[in-house]
Amino acid sequence: MSRVLSRPVGILGDGDSATLWHSGTEGASHRQEWVVADNGRAVELIAITKTYPGVIANDKVNLSVGLGEIHAIVGENGAGKSTLMNMLYGMQIPDSGEIKVRGELEHFRSPKDAIAHGIGMVHQHFMLADNLTVLENIVLGFEPKSGMRIDFDGARKKIIEIGSRYGMTLDPDTLVEHLSVGQRQRVEILKVLFRGATILILDEPTAVLVPQEVDELFDNLKVLRDDGVTLIFISHKLDEVLSVANSITVMRGGKTVATVLPQDVDAGQLAELMVGSELPVPETTASTVTDHVALEVRNLTHRSNDDRTLLDDVNLTIRNGEIVGIAGVEGNGQSELIDALMGIIDPETGSVLLNGEDISTRHTIDRHEAGIGIIPEDRHRQGLLLSAPLWENVMLGHQSQAPFVRGPFIDMKGTRSATEEVVERFDVKTPNIDVPAHALSGGNQQKMIVGKEMLAEPDVLIAAHPTRGIDVGAQSAVWDELRAARQGGLAVLLISADLDELIGLSDTLLVIFDGKIVASLDPGDVTPEILGSYMTGVKVAS
């Protein structure tokens, strides 16, 4: 017996024109009927594999989503969730495996194919034009027309109808720039519903919302589900997932780990699944932590332009000979913390002290000179000059000091010999120091960056994702360097999403969530459950 699922009428494959909606007589009247094959699953991904050079993004992943349910996919950064959904949406093509939509085998070549099959995706980073109205953003590329003219009245009516149906009312004629983040998300959802989607994919939908907006969103999702729409959403926030999902798939390291029902697990168990039940055991070496505080952060608070809290009363201290690690899912304030420490943003309140001295008002270059080193989180955008030779890259951050400059002039001899030293000491594999940085592998680029900072003998080193995207050999080399430097008295702030790295290196392990430091743990006896819970915002009974 086949299930009948209705979808709104008006979908055309190429989006060049859209027939006018015609209303029927019953509740779900304006919808067309999809016929669904026997087993009645909305989406089935079977043994999906996708690899990129050097990394397996999805490894025989299975996913099964029922019709008219809210299905959550949880996992850490890099678990492969987004890649998987990109393939369902036609933005990527799997290397192997099958995609079935409503029981039929499908091969999507582009998002247009997916849209034609009633799948819509709401991206984490909204694709909206601020200077156009809600209506214009929604109908773009799919405009209802009479001749050349857009049928504004028809479109407006439809948008209001869909909106009120699902509790997402918006004035179609407001400019998007005047909308709050939650409202913008509604526009994105209306965009896909307008094109007749009955399977919605939402990528980290609550990442940018404040708590009330999250509640409103979940109310809307429930109404959609009750109306027969299937929802898949990706998240790392376990409390939220448990409160709204009908079933949950956990991914880790490119594989599906488990599919559970929310009534069968609690947040702690879920966290453990996400993070893995085994954490590395930190090395037991003698502690090198001294009593002298090298870096202190007090009451650091910062808000964004649209009033979201990015940093919430952050306090931390790092002593010489100590590595303080900050664990957390990306986007919880780590970038803003780094920018505030380096003087790139000026926080609303709070102060930064280096060796007891308040440096909160000093310019970035002064902070370099005062002895703060930085391994930036995005080496391409912040840490390198890709088209410049290595010896110019080594100057970054140190162009105001010896041995690189003498007075206003660059000291070529000093610079070149310093670069040779970096290459030699830190095992940067390169034919010479004149090659452009983009010719080096990621691992060697990173070794060079680490090396140039170490060479300047900083008092404090901020290491942001220091081994991201580099090969294993380079990774251990970087770790060895950090350990050796710590032994020599360096104070290190280690920000990372790699739990092996954090537990293996940190003396103290902090967790950041929503801009706030929510925990200070001992890496020696932290459990995956506790760590995962703090990272995902679950309240932990103390």
Partner: protein, 371 residues
């Protein structure tokens, strides 16, 4: 490795020039003129000492203009206002030179300083507007060009002018102490004929010094380093401690200051005064030369020479009844062609660099491959 480096840096400009000559040839053919004949005339005309002196004469201000523009280009700032900056600077310098008479070298220094300061101020307006109010420097410098033209017209008619026999308004002839010597002896030294009616401007020396100073500043000083990285990768520059607003403002000042020097070649040379006849358009052609020379001191010098030679060679065309404007068309096509060519060649070079480095590594120890 070195040879191929030179080859690739010349590939784009040379191919652009060849392409443009080709387009010019086609245009000539369409209007019924034999391009080989025309080009041949140009070449033979250029090969004599008068032409040589004239080419250099034209090339010198073009070079200075290119350097002024290039300073901005290093950090992706477009100083289109070089045109207005050099004219207004030259006018003020002319006026100061006539009315403030000092002993020899000091007089010359004062004139040069006036030009530099006025040029810097005029560009500084655009820089300040960009830094404080976010006004795009392309529009503001273009507007300032027109405002400069009006300001010059007004001042020349009212405040600055001097009685002169012709109807040509002028700031008055500079006393001899302000004029730079002509360098024609450089030609006669080698046994060539004395150039007739034209002189190699003494300002050539200053232009050469400027080129050297430009090289040193941009590639051998901390300021130049910060300038270039601001253009290369603003994110890395910021993290490395560069203050973006200061950078924009100082760069505009510097660019405008150099622009001020452009007119001095004429002012302190044969013309000896700022008049309504003062050569125009050098600001815009300077942009073309900077693009052709890829902001490189030697490249721009070659480019300026090329344009100077072409401008001079155009004269012979007129005598032969060939429209000399074909040269302007060729120059215009060069500008477009060279930027397209640089794009294409740039991508080829980047790809080659990656494979070359990978191979070199493999040869040495075979461990790493470029990711």
């Amino acid at each position: 490795m070195k040879v191929s480096k030179i080859f690739f840096s010349l590939l784009a400009p040379v191919s652009a020039i060849i392409f443009s000559l080709g387009v010019g040839a086609i245009v000539l053919l369409i209007v019924g003129i034999n391009p080989l004949d025309a080009y041949g005339q140009m070449v033979s005309f250029s090969a004599d000492s008068t032409s040589f002196a004239s080419s250099i004469n034209k090339a010198v201000p073009l070079y200075v203009s290119a350097v002024a523009v290039a300073i901005g280009f290093q950090m992706n700032l477009f100083n289109i206002g070089v045109e207005g900056q050099y004219l207004i600077a030259a006018m003020f310098a002319g006026w100061v030179g006539t009315n403030v008479v000092l002993w020899g070298p000091l007089h010359i220094t004062v004139i040069i300083l006036t030009a530099v300061i006025v040029g810097a101020i005029w560009a500084g307006i655009a820089g300040a507007l960009k830094v404080t109010r976010g006004v795009n420097e392309v529009i503001s410098t273009i507007m300032l060009n027109f405002i400069a033209f009006s300001a010059i017209a007004y001042l020349l008619a009212n405040t600055f002018s001097v009685e002169s026999e012709s109807l040509n308004l002028s700031t008055g002839k500079l006393p001899d102490s302000a004029l730079l010597p002509n360098l024609n002896f450089l030609i006669t030294m080698f046994g060539f004929n004395e150039p007739r009616g034209i002189e190699i401007p003494g300002f050539l020396v200053i232009a050469i010094l400027l080129g050297i100073a430009y090289y040193v500043l941009v590639w051998r000083t901390r300021f130049g380093f910060e300038l270039r990285i601001s253009g290369m990768n603003p994110g890395s520059a910021r993290m490395a401690g560069v203050n973006p607003k200061k950078m924009v403002f100082y760069t505009m000042l510097l660019s405008g200051g150099v622009a001020g020097l452009i007119g001095l070649s004429t002012l302190m040379g044969k013309l000896g005064a700022y008049t309504q006849d003062f050569p125009r358009g050098i600001g815009f052609t300077g942009i073309a030369v900077a693009l052709l020379g890829r902001n490189h001191p030697v490249g721009m010098a070659l480019g300026a020479l090329l344009f100077g030679v072409m401008d001079r060679a155009a004269l012979v065309l007129k005598l032969e009844g060939i429209p000399e404007e074909i040269v302007v068309i060729i120059q215009g096509v060069i500008v477009l062609a060279v930027v397209v060519a640089y794009e294409i060649v740039g991508r080829i070079v980047a790809a080659r660099e990656v494979t070359a480095a990978a191979e070199a590594l493999k040869a040495s120890n075979g461990a790493e491959v470029a990711a």
